[in-house]
Symmetry: C2
Subunit: 191 residues, 2 copies
């Protein structure tokens, strides 16, 4: 997605240790026009795939997932990281090591919003090591649903997440709107 | 907003202690068509107001704020509750007592995304006691910007937040897409 690559080139900052700062357009501030474009592009990339529902993880996955959900006209569920007092009954819980925060992060989804037999598309902001995306995939499988695909805003291909997901048996389509192949020497190399 | 009121009537649950569960359409799952309608209605309600930017609080404020931002064509900033490693430089911080979680919640916005002289519209999921909204307002004021208005998805008028904001000197327009006047006896009374 050219508009996104242009914005990453103009505004992205390499903070070291593989940390990409794109707070001006995704992780703290959202650009409405760019978000609409992300939703359209994600819908195009998965046009041939049956999708009953979209699953993302709070916080920064919500905006791109919602935009894709609007284009694809399917409901969007965001996994919570802490159990809200409104979450009761059957709850699916998975953990993923946190890339940027240390420790592990729990991801919780109510059984009300993942159903057996559904085709569920995972959308998130980043594909780095793939650990969060695979935790989301396990939530889908725990509910007896199927992973229809994985769509992310930015893939950092040098962190090997796509290969790790393939190795773990996820053969669904995986698409990124922008791919960063290297962040050496303070730079940001886009594919 | 009639579609929202209908959905709250059909799917809302009164969990006691003033806790309204609308996880199926706002706080865990998002309904795309309903979200688009929320954005349009918020834009109509603030059509006469100059808005340079929208400010919300993660997590559940992001979706309605983004939809309003798309309609109004302005950037949307979501205050973070913990400082991400990408947040550096000038940071505005305010605290609000948490209505549903106990204790206090911090709200942080980078000085990169709030500028002096701007007219900033606050959007959030709920207006209950008004404490979170007033913390967002103080962030705007700390940056030398102005509160253009406050828009929420659901106002629980029986918690007195609107009156508390008026008493604190916030004379800006305050609009809610749906207003709940009482949650006595397990019911949900919509205005």
């Amino acid at each position: 997605m050219q508009a996104l690559k242009d914005r990453i080139r103009a505004e992205g900052q390499n903070l070291g240790n593989g940390i990409l700062k794109i707070d001006s357009l995704l992780n703290h501030q959202l650009d409405p026009q760019l978000m609409v474009g992300m939703g359209r592009t994600l819908a195009q990339l998965f046009a041939g795939v049956r999708v009953d529902r979209i699953l993302t993880a709070e916080i920064s996955g919500i905006a791109p997932a919602l935009m894709a959900g609007i284009e694809m006209q399917v409901p969007v569920v965001y996994a919570r990281k802490k159990q809200p007092i409104t979450m009761r009954g059957i709850i699916y819980v998975e953990s993923a090591p946190s890339h940027t925060k240390g420790g592990t992060v729990d991801l919780l989804v109510s059984g009300e919003f993942l159903k057996a037999g559904e085709q569920v598309l995972i959308i998130d902001d980043f594909l780095a090591t793939g650990q969060t995306l695979m935790a989301l995939a396990r939530l889908i499988q725990a509910a007896g649903a199927h992973v229809a695909g994985v769509g992310v805003v930015v893939e950092k291909s040098f962190e090997g997440g796509r290969a790790a997901m393939l190795k773990a048996g996820y053969t669904c389509p995986i698409h990124a709107l922008a791919t960063i192949t290297a962040m050496d020497d303070g730079g940001i190399t886009l594919a």
